[in-house]
Symmetry: C2
Subunit: 500 residues, 2 copies
């Protein structure tokens, strides 16, 4: 009842223009008056150049490019607020842009509007070693931050692979190889500054490590993909660079043995800092790419962080567990250079996969399943690839139950594209049947909107009601997460009638 009522009442407030053009997710080109107002505010920092718009509508995914009408290069929270006020006055969509490393079409201007480029907001506002926290602007990249922190002996642990911006990592709830030990963005963001759809600036959270004071807006904004507001600053938890690190690489006869090793390590509670799987296809692709001769078998890379005594003990236990599953070719490394060498294969997996089909683009799936189901789901997925006669490599943050199938393709090969889409669809359904999620860390964007509904059912109506309450004109990154205008469309797809 409430959700229908709230959408109906929200439609009262939608201007005729907004309703007529956006109810079904149609294009809402920024009016000339809006562009003029933005140009008055930003001067040269508003660009309508075709190449710049094109660049801002393209991420690293396989999704179609949808360039915005203009790009606003902002430099402060206050400026973001002014841009939002101008855009909300004409119901012009606003799409936040960080580093453009999204894998699910988050930054494409599906309905037109303004790309809000935050890369110029790249100041580290403060570092507080005694609180093990820092505050950064949204455009700071992960690598920039860790380079800056080096002298303090602290680091920010969330590592999605790409040199993403912190704002983008907040928006997609990024995680990665170290999440098994240090958690994801939800674990490591203490507080946010955000600009809401109407331009109001809010601050969420505090510098304290925990709080029970009201609704957790910090974690509501994390993973909201720019659809509720624009993240402009984040207070982050930092960790001491470990006293010692140790990395092990080993291979197995079957992928089941490799994944069962992971599951056993997790169930025994042995601390690991990273635990990455590569299937035989990934190993073979890396061999070809890097001219190596590693045995072509499913492999694990496992890392420990701690005191020298701790990591030796942990590594010995993990080696024993791996031995129970007939691990082979065990290589160990403690020095930085040796560890880098062992990790180089895993780090090059994406490019190694893509170069198997020169000139191809690539898709990366992102399911995450309960640890108890991980072995079955990965084994079935490998069998599915074989049966489908589809080339793909599997890499995974298996300590969290999250893995990616990376598949190179050519857009103009319709038969291949159909195979890829159908495989990806089967994989998501397999993960949902195993009570997992369609996306462990990449987000929904416009690539997984079907699955959001399938995964969350009636909960999506609650999400839509929140969206409607906080962004009644549906200007914040429209066309992502939900189909059409979440404020004007019922979950059965019918349009709520305009009452007046």
């Amino acid at each position: 009842m409430w959700s229908l009522a709230s959408r109906s009442s929200l439609s009262h407030r939608l201007s005729r223009r907004a309703l007529s053009t956006s109810a079904l997710g149609a294009r809402r080109t920024a009016p000339e008056a809006t562009l003029t107002a933005l140009r008055d505010l930003l001067g040269d920092r508003l660009s309508t150049a075709a190449s710049i718009c094109e660049h801002h509508g393209r991420d690293e995914s396989y999704h179609a490019v949808a360039p915005p009408d203009a790009v606003a290069f902002v430099t402060s929270t206050e400026e973001v607020s002014k841009v939002l006020k101008i855009c909300s006055a004409s119901a012009t969509p606003v799409i936040p842009f960080g580093a453009g490393s999204s894998l699910e079409g988050h930054i494409s201007a599906t309905e037109g509007g303004i790309s809000l480029d935050l890369s110029g907001m790249n100041q580290i506002v403060h570092v507080e070693p005694e609180n093990m926290s820092c505050r950064v602007q949204a455009g700071v990249t992960r690598e920039q931050l860790n380079t800056d922190l080096r002298a303090t002996g602290l680091f920010f642990p969330v590592d999605p692979g790409a040199n993403a911006s912190i704002g983008g990592m907040v928006s997609t709830n990024a995680s990665g190889t170290t999440t098994v030990r240090y958690g994801n963005m939800k674990t490591n963001v203490l507080a946010l500054t955000a600009v809401m759809a109407d331009g109001r600036i809010i601050k969420t959270g505090s510098k304290a490590r925990k709080s029970s004071a009201g609704y957790d807006l910090t974690r509501l904004l994390i993973g909201s993909e720019g659809t509720l507001g624009v993240i402009t600053e984040a207070e982050l938890r930092l960790y001491g660079i470990p006293e010692a690190e140790k990395t092990m690489v080993c291979s197995f006869n079957t992928i089941k043995d490799a994944v069962d090793t992971c599951a056993t390590v997790m169930q025994m509670g042995i601390p690991v800092a990273r635990m990455e799987l590569m299937d035989e296809n990934a190993v073979e692709a890396i061999n070809k790419y890097s001219k190596l001769h590693t045995p072509i078998r499913p492999s694990l890379v496992i890392e420990h962080h701690g005191s020298p005594t701790e990591i030796e003990e942990q590594s010995e236990i993990v080696q024993a567990i791996a031995g129970d599953f007939n691990a082979q070719d065990v290589q160990l490394a403690s020095t930085i250079d040796e560890r880098k060498k062992l990790w180089s294969g895993r780090h090059s997996a994406w490019w190694a996969t893509m170069t198997q089909m020169p000139g191809s683009r690539g898709l990366s799936t992102d399911v995450c399943v309960p640890l108890s189901k991980l072995t079955d789901v990965i084994v079935e997925t490998q069998e599915d690839l074989r049966k489908t006669e589809l080339f793909g490599t599997i890499v995974g943050h298996v300590g969290d139950g999250n893995f990616h199938v990376m598949i190179p393709f050519f857009n103009d090969d319709a038969t291949l594209m159909k195979k890829v889409r159908e495989f990806s669809n089967r994989l998501v359904l397999r993960a949902l049947a195993a009570e997992g999620t369609c996306t462990g860390e990449h987000g929904v964007g416009n690539g997984k909107m079907d699955y959001l509904q399938l995964e969350h059912g009636d909960s999506v109506d609650v999400m839509r009601a929140i969206k409607g309450a906080l962004d009644p004109l549906n200007i914040m990154n429209p066309g992502k997460l939900f189909y059409g205008n979440p404020n004007a469309i019922r979950s059965d797809g019918s349009v709520v009638e305009q009452a007046a």
Copy 2:
């Protein structure tokens, strides 16, 4: 703009009755027709007996008792849904009740209505050792769960002290002594089943350890104090019972030395499973209560969980750090019985404090501050107690920056009550000035509503907008978190005019 608009539009939908009686938080007694419908549904499990209503309006806090009009003893999610449908039809408030161990008046029927007693929903739905997770109904208590889990070698780590219900712990985002190692409810709840204000049943999250699929409704509901919906089931993360545990108690010449020891341990990243502070008043009260002769000095209790090698190493490092701050009377324990003995003082701190003024009730403050400010805030708070000539003991989960001042009082001693309130107010202001939070783990309830606004500023309007979208009739635990009817009252306290 949106928040005013959304409140205005919501007021359209408020029935004349709801608006006229609830806009200012006035009493909305359950109409006889509602009680009849509930009696038809529940039979004897609806009670209007004065003693039962009285019991359900009283928590463990110092807040006034506000009994509900009736208590509904529910046994299933479907039944909760039916109760909500009946109550929403007459805009009758619904107040979820678990174990009644709230410390901020969460369960009092401030505006009348129905107390929804979930203690009969005490089934452990499943335990999945291989996924290290379990699913429980909301009425399961923490101790019941851990007793049931014993044979599996797993445990649920969040320990707020009281034998709270899991539903209540979800609703207040509970944490406690082990949070420094295992996290709080936000870390350890994977998924929820909840009934929304209109009776719709939703499921949030999944069994996977992480997800980026849509808004995080799980963490929005955690800490929402029954104001958005009723938690009926939770999927929880479990951990292996540690191979070995080691506890150390030691004392210090000054509280600054004790807190600085904690801060140093945290900054060095030494793993601790618990790290609890007791000030000299707490030690003295425990001595009297338990007839002990412990030296009356600020003390720390520190526990390590891990392999025997790990905990020995960790304990030695912590002892060395404590030694640098002139720790004395170091006692160590590894066996269960010895550890229990060392912990008994900390566990009895509340009752030991209360018995210093026989027949008194007690207040427990709950601020949480950045680690970098913890020493100063605790030292200033102790000085404040002395200057105010107020008796209170300080205990704290200092690894998280969270501490409690426990103060016994007599309601009829107006001078004392004024002193207590003013002290508590100064403490919250001190914590907020240090960029901390008014409540680390107890929640806002009706005791900290002033501070929610002070701490979060404009963010509270965003919270109100979410409340308005999900509970337009303001029936879910009204009078908590926000003053008056959050859907009809502006943040300046003025009432939104009824448009039609």
